[in-house]
Amino acid sequence: MAIHSIYILSKDDPEARSLLSFFRRRGHDKLTNVMIERVVWLEGSFNMERLMPLFINPLYQVPAETSQLDPEHGPIVEIAYRPAVTDPETPSILDGAHALGEDGLLFARLSRRYQFCGLDEHEAKTLAAHFLYNKVVERIREPNEAVTTLRPTGNPDPVGKVSFEGLSDDELAALSRERSWYAPLSQMKVIQAHQKQRGRPYTDAEVEILVQSWSDHCYHTTWKSLGLLKRLMAATREINHPLVVSSFTDNAGGMDFVDGWVVTIKGETHNFPSSIAPFGGIATKHGGVIRDTLGFGKGAYPIGGTTVMGTMDPRMAESEVPAGALHPELIVSESIRATAYYMNPMGIPMMHPIYRCHPGYAKCFALGHSVGLLPKKYVRKDAPRPGDVAVLFGGSTGRDGVHGATASSAAMTGETLEKESAAVQIGHPITERRFTTAIPILRDSECIRTITDLGAGGISCAVGEMGADTGVEINLDAVPLKDKSLTAWEILLSESQERMLMAVPPEKLEEAQAILRRFEVASCVLGKFTNTGRLQAKWQGEMVVDLNMFFLWKSCPIDPTPTAPPQRHLAPLTILPPQSREEWGIVVCRLLSHYHCADQSPAGTRYDSTVQGRTAVGPYGGKNHRMPTNIYVSAPLRNKPNGVITTLAFNPFYGEIDPAVMARLMIWEAITKAVVAGTDYRQMVLCDNFYTPRVRPDTASELVAMVDTIADLSVEIGVPFISGKDSSSGTLEAGGKRIDVPPTLAVATMGRVSDVKKVVTKDFKRAGNRLLLLGRYDANILGGTVYADSLGQRGDSLFDAYDPISMKVQWDYLLELHAQHRYVSASAIAEGGMMLRLFEGAFGSGLGARVDVEGIPASRLDGLLFGEFIGACLLEVPPDFKIPAHLAGIRHQFIGHVTAEPHLTIARGGEVIWEESIATLADTWSETFREVVK
């Protein structure tokens, strides 16, 4: 069939300009211009004239039959999907052509031609390979390549047999390594013993299923061995909170909301893929955690999301980047592009965009949350019954993400970057968006017995888990493939994104399929649930998997995890307080321009924060909508004042000093952020996400200490964890060096507020109001602070002043003040201390603040202003505010007042110690991130 092509140039191309500046910023000074030409490839017989409006808008696009780029101007690199892979745009093009009456168009593909003026061909290809395509699914198309068909071609490998018989321990270990199974010897031996018992060798598909189902990523072997999940679940059970409707057992946790609705929360990390291929890794981080919401109960609807990134310092020199790791600037900028690429088309508002750095994040921390909404009556899944139909829907299955589960469970090494990049999935939000619309309708039509998403382990894991108590028989030939060369085990294990699995009662099948068709969601009948207790899969007439469910799910050996106290090498701080006005100016600038305190809106404003029309308080607020609010408030039910508030605490510095104290502080910080805004901590739930180094006795001991701390604490304050996730793979080993991530715990809160209009934000409200530091402080403890980090120090102790009782007393007091409208702006003290809050409150209001330290008992002024007194908060109160007599026991320290002049002033009595205009400070504060991302 004839192949036609159209070469399209845009008369105005901001993307090309942006690429040029991106590359030049990365030191490619020889590059003088970038041109992008888009090519449409079409196969079939059709009227080209009639198709043109689909491909060309003549107002700004110029088509031609041959390339319009002049090769004289520089090398051209053309990037296209691999022949075996279908372009994501192909169905849209065929739909459009069909609408135009051109049914003779059989297939279509796109490619992009980049011209790099000023570079040689080798340099151009290197740049393209690094930044412009993913070699798992894309490739460089050579000039004058003969094309006979555009349709995907390729042949699958036959099913292989693997025998474990007679293999020694060494041979078993070697086999595990060679096949990229990353299975420990104990598992290999159990699989070997089972072969003897069942009397026949395994197919490759069977072993692949076993090792990935038992990987740390899927089976959480580390956590099981240390008894950690049980510990958290027991704590939540003990609290027995009336609002908790689902905890830890489903794809997310659920909290009762109002009027028969439930809100859900889940946090998911995607550290390994994001470290080796940030764009794909981050896009699918969002796609995956959103599917956890869709796969909660009988299907929840996503109403908010976050992105939290921990990397090395993006400003580090290229030469300092450890072997085996990507430059953090690339990880951050690619992650921003990916979050925008995925979240915006999904139509899910961004709640918290947070970026932090630490030299330990050679293997980055990539966390995303998803908050969902569903009617309470659909909170529980039903068990599938024999005869129920397994329906797979969403995207087609491809080569992307094969071995993702096992690879992410392993430590990252220099070779991983090359070897396992196939483990990275590719995300296509439009596919997920289609079923996001369809799922609530399927659910409300009672078509769903149970539903789950396909994530790690792909079809095998989803089907295997759903049918664990019954048995299930599937037909792999029914699976729509985007890559025709996939063999059975690859179809089973592929982690292609945007796929869901549901069990449908047989009498509902037709209705379910009609709903899916109406919303243009592709689906197939994958198989049916049985009563055999076996996982069975057929492919091309052959039974390629026949595994006993009991063996699959109950026989994984859990190796004991020894623990031993960690050695710490901490040094006390040696920071001298600033002595002069100039020195004050320098330290304040350092603080405000620190990566953790600086204006991150150049990233955050790339994400839609108001879509769905539910946003009451977004991530940025204040007069100019650039002040970080540190809270997100949604009004999920239209025309109802009730709100859901979320907050986050994540600090990579504290864990280095003391992981257990850090864990406590994260809880204090996250909850105080919400309480100070007016949320009752008794109407709140928590979500934990751990990221720790690869398990060794010392790191295991730290992990246990952190989990013990938060489990005990949650019981003592009565605020339960309802969902969480852990990853113990935060170690990069390369070039004889080992880099561990700092012990990391991100705590998210989700709480109910009765009226979103009563939420108090941090921007100052009125000149003349007094500023009150409420709570405990200690100006001598500066360990782990941004202030210390900005001076290149960490310290040896953390501010840790609250026990559960004193913390609760203070929260109760805050709630009382809030109920009486006694304060008008408020923020919890966290990174950057009081100084950052003073600046942000002023910046967000157009007002200023004057701090007068005369009479304040503080040994050092820098400690008072920069100390991170987690648990304390800064309140703006009317001038006539009186401390209630019965609460004089809570520490109140008036520190100054709000001024009409937009200045920040630190004074002692009449003497000005330091002063600066908010505008000048804002310039400093705005610079850091702009440099990083643009």
């Binding site: 300009r17 459009g96 135009l100 088309p345 009451a616 709100g643």
Partner: protein, 246 residues
């Protein structure tokens, strides 16, 4: 008499249809979600509605260009209904991606399905821009902004391709600027990010000769409901309801 109903047209990738319907209902109008596929399949007809909105989102994943495929469907499969709709002088609103659809389809500015007279290009910053903007309402006749001339409306804006490109056209089919991005003093501005996409002349929304068809990049439906930071957008929907009730 039954209440006039506004069709909210949505397709795969549209993601602002529910809040748009909610805003119209809050303005005491009646809105119905209408799937483009059902219109093409004949299950529903545009003739049954007295007004229509194409809401925001990423219809068909923005494949081949923002709004391109949705517009192709409208022009190729629903041209007759569309022409009848326009001839019957029914109001039509395109928000964000819906505005892109209306320009790609040639409905804005010239009311000529299949003949494009303007385009919405990638933002000057080459990035998606999530901002809160001020919209200065011009004196141009438009049923959606009646009585609002001179006022400044605050609403969110969130898009990657919103920079209009106008081409020479006769007076009848020329775009008429209804909204301009304003600075803090209420003056039209070219300053980023108050003008988030680099729109020449700070044009944020246009209408056609009849004043019935309006396209704008920012989102009035996200500044309508009580929980939202501004309710300025509701006035646009109230104008629709007033017009329909006339």
């Amino acid at each position: 008499m039954t209440q006039a109903t506004t069709a909210i047209l949505y397709a795969p990738g549209t993601n602002c249809h529910e809040e748009t319907a909610a805003a119209i209902e809050l303005a005491h109008g009646k809105a119905e979600l209408v799937l483009l596929k059902d219109l093409i399949g004949g299950q529903t007809r545009l003739d049954d509605y007295q007004a229509a909105v194409v809401p925001g989102g990423f219809s068909y994943g923005d494949h081949l260009g923002a709004g391109r495929i949705f517009a192709t469907m409208l022009v190729a499969r629903l041209r007759d209904q569309l022409v009848r709709f326009l001839d019957a002088k029914k109001p039509l609103l395109g928000i964000c991606n819906g505005y892109q659809v209306l320009t790609e389809a040639g409905i804005l500015p010239g009311r000529t399905p299949g003949q494009r007279g303007m385009a919405l290009l990638e933002n000057q910053s080459a990035r998606f821009e999530d901002r809160k903007v001020r919209m200065i309402v011009s004196k141009v006749k438009c049923v959606w902004t009646e009585g609002l001339a001179g006022q400044v409306l605050e609403m969110p804006s969130a898009h990657g391709e919103g920079r209009p490109l106008f081409c020479d056209s006769d007076a009848a089919s020329a775009p008429r600027a209804v909204f301009h991005y304003g600075d803090e003093h209420g003056q039209p501005t070219m300053d980023y990010p108050s003008n988030p996409n680099g729109s020449p002349g700070a044009v944020a929304g246009v209408t056609d000769e009849s004043g019935l068809v309006l396209g704008l990049m920012p989102h009035p439906e996200r500044a309508s409901l009580p929980g939202q930071y501004s309710q300025d957008g509701l006035r646009i929907f109230q104008n629709l309801v007033n017009w329909l009730n006339r």
